[in-house]
Symmetry: C2
């Protein structure tokens, strides 16, 4: 039937989009299959399975790469970019174009060399850390820095190489934004932490001391997930040495770990991973297989885990509401008050050297230090051999503590052994974004304290579903933030949040 | 360096073989990845994960099919078939040629139609079984029969269609062999079972009656696997509604199930699945990714599970050795003697209607009935609507019992809803081969009773490793049997074994 309405180019475009979508779904399914294999490897695979699993994952990765970088993908992208598409279709094309351009710009041999070098770097890093011997790791780190510089050069010879690497994890927030935010965190958190250090207030530190049986901790972790509204029909809880969450909107799993002496750690880690899985579960079912049903990048993902971990799980009303449940599993907590639990969950440790053990404030100085060092490493302003000293100097400058060994200094994190330069900043950006989103949610829904105290999370989660999760990659990250909060990305809300919370906790005037 | 020795065609062949092997390994890795996804689906996947998992599996299956049937595979096969290859290389080419010919001969649309029809048939069958309503299943069964006939026609228009379908599960044992063996089983087992029925001996039936806690059953299943020598570094035990084993030589997992009223069932099922996994674990590590490191077909696989389940796990010395362990987990078994346990594990139930609950003798009549019916279904000599009556008549004829419902008659098994016609016979062939292999092992190693009583399985397993497992698909099934036993495939040993064992148990003269 003929109409006068402006129409897409007719069947041609529809056919092309259909073929394109099929290809995209195929790539997505291969990648999701690899995700299942990695979950299996971390959680249930017997020890000796590694060689076969490595080959399976490498095959799936090659197949995904070949599907993405095939000429047909390029041809379809060009055809579709010249066609009239719906906004959703345009978003899918935008996302695949970005991945296509990146993956086709880097020669296969370089990708392979990086992959081999990181495979080799991991055991070297592990040994170096175990033996506190930076020299063991230095040569391969140097090699990785060179290779990643070369990689960035291929992707965009005109750009700051570090910006190119950063954009691999966070393609839509530019490096200037990240830098501005991190500098502001440094400039405002250092004096705040100093003030806390000078404060006379000593927060109760033994509310959660003692030994806590692993099985009971697991039961409590399940209580936490129940209370937050985790959908067990679409998920599960297991243990893993390094907790993570993974999966799709149909099956988003959480892992956690239990340490008999650290009950608080397993609770906050479980809530953190819930935040990640809950984002995944909020992606639209009918978008499965394309970027419309996939999560935005690392900062947005981390915003979801940090929002639940910090704004919910480290809040006073959470502990007022949740402590009775914890006491049922651990009668030894009978004497702990909600206020003590709240304080224990928010102590600031200014003498801690380890990022993953850091509190909500000093955490960002750990990140700033890594950010500054890896920027200079990639630019060539810092030699690998000088990393330990610069690291230690910065810890002394920003945190007032100096690592005595490299194992608890620049060797503590796995990321560089993966060649992941530019990853660390997304952790802090996630916290900052969490605060901005939480403020916008409260702006619309009103103070959420009572809900949190009552274990009522539907309103908060509904807001996140509507404003963040359901959109998948429909919008770029800045667009998503703007739509959800009415503002561009800003550290204001995070700094307000920590000023108010820690000002109150430590009685700062 | 020039030599006078006959040489392969030089670098050309080596290059071609290398490219071929790489392709084969890629196909194998895709298939093994799918295996992990299926394990996950059966054992740990949350309920709602199905839609995404179905897409992931379908994508992997398409990719594997495309890699196998690509022109390049055909070209490489032709080139290599004209080249001088090692015996091992020839075997790999032979196996891939067979798969290639089959998969390229069937049009994609037919494969897809079969796949859609079976997806639809499964819930119909389930409903029909639940509601004891064969009419519900009949139309889709008819459709599947037609489609599978058509499928067979494509693969080999000159062959008996049922033989073509059978060869999908058992490509190297021809249908005449299978038929000869099954007819012999029918002809000799019917009078043996009649004699047992007439015997005055009543084997103790309540040795394992009572309620057995699931957790204790699991502990005992682990004891069994420990005792048989299962390598936990390369495997794990989980529960699944329909026990299976899956994986590779690096990671071969067992599943089992527990029924509080059926301790014996969980023990024999665990031993059965151990046999499958143990075969997989015996495949050579360096063959991973090609048929040299993959197991032979269903009958050989089943021979391994049946050998351990029946020749070991249902033997008198096994119960003499294992009962003390069972008593530790279940003190209620204190009064049961090894002889009673042995008898309980070998009762012949001539009034049982259900294949999966059958004993070692009547089991094969269940198979013969299915074999006869599906042959006639495929040939067109039997109409789908007449299946229930023919089924019931045959049960009456061979087993002396007539099902009162189709749910406990021709609807009991899932296989036809998968379109798997020709699968059933491999179960019986596996038992028959198990006896032949076990006899050959004892011929070489001497009577194994003492080893079994002492829980010493290294010699038996060493023999299996050397004569069966390590060869992967290096030899065809008849070659493998001939090399392992010095004879071609024969039912002699199975019939000797059951005559002797049941003659003794039931005091037949």
């Amino acid at each position: 039937m003929a109409t006068d309405q402006a129409e897409p180019e007719g069947d041609g475009t529809e056919d092309a989009y259909e073929r394109f979508e099929e290809r995209v779904q195929r790539i997505s399914n291969v990648s999701n299959a690899a995700g299942v294999l990695r979950w299996d490897q971390e959680v249930v695979m017997p020890e000796a399975g590694t060689p076969a699993r490595a080959q399976q994952l490498s095959t799936l990765s090659s197949i995904g790469h070949e599907l993405l970088t095939a000429d047909e993908t390029g041809d379809l992208l060009e055809e579709l970019e010249d066609s009239e598409l719906s906004g959703e279709q345009e978003a899918v094309v935008r996302e695949i174009r970005r991945q296509y351009d990146r993956e086709t710009s880097v020669p296969g041999e370089l990708v392979e060399e990086i992959s081999e070098t990181t495979a080799n770097a991991h055991p070297k890093w592990k040994k170096a850390k175990e033996e506190d011997d930076f020299e063991e790791f230095a040569p391969v780190l140097e090699k990785l820095v060179e290779l990643k510089r070369e990689y960035a050069e291929h992707v965009d010879p005109d750009a700051d190489p570090y910006a190119v690497l950063f954009s691999e994890y966070e393609p839509y927030l530019d490096l200037e934004t990240a830098e501005r935010v991190l500098e502001r965190l440094r400039d405002e958190l250092v004096p705040l932490i100093d003030a806390i250090d000078d404060s006379d207030v000593d927060l109760a530190t033994d509310a959660f001391s003692g030994e806590f049986d692993d099985d009971d901790q697991e039961a409590l972790a399940r209580d936490v997930l129940d209370s937050l509204g985790y959908d067990w029909d679409r998920g599960r809880l297991d243990t893993a040495p390094h907790p993570f969450s993974s999966g799709t909107q149909f099956d988003a799993r959480v892992t956690t770990r239990f340490d008999e002496e650290d009950l608080l750690g397993s609770i906050t880690s479980t809530i953190h991973e819930f935040g990640h899985a809950n984002y995944t579960l909020g992606l639209p079912d009918d978008g499965y297989g394309t970027p419309l049903g996939e999560s935005r990048d690392l900062s947005v993902h981390e915003s979801q885990s940090r929002l639940w971990e910090n704004h919910v799980g480290r809040s006073r009303p959470f502990w007022e509401g949740f402590l009775p449940t914890a006491r049922e599993r651990f009668p030894g907590l009978a004497e702990v008050t909600p206020e003590e639990a709240y304080e224990a969950a928010n102590q600031v440790y200014d003498d801690n050297l380890i990022r993953v053990e850091a509190d909500e404030l000093t955490y960002h100085l750990h990140i700033v230090i890594r950010f500054e060092i890896e920027r200079e490493l990639i630019s060539g302003d810092l030699a690998v051999e000088d990393v330990p000293e610069v690291w230690n100097d910065k810890y002394e400058e920003y945190l007032g503590v100096r690592p005595e060994t490299d194992a608890e200094g620049c060797l503590q994190d796995i990321h560089w052994s993966h060649g992941s330069f530019g990853y660390f900043p997304t952790y802090s950006l996630g916290s900052v974004l969490a605060a901005q989103l939480y403020a916008a949610a409260e702006d619309e829904l009103g103070d959420l304290s009572e809900d949190i105290r009552d274990g009522e999370f539907d309103e908060l989660n509904g807001w996140l579903r509507e404003n963040v999760h359901q959109h998948g990659c429909r919008y770029t990250t800045p667009e998503l933030i703007e739509r959800a909060t009415g503002e561009s990305f800003t550290a204001d809300y995070f700094l307000e949040y920590v000023d108010e919370k820690y000002g109150d906790l430590y009685d700062l005037s």
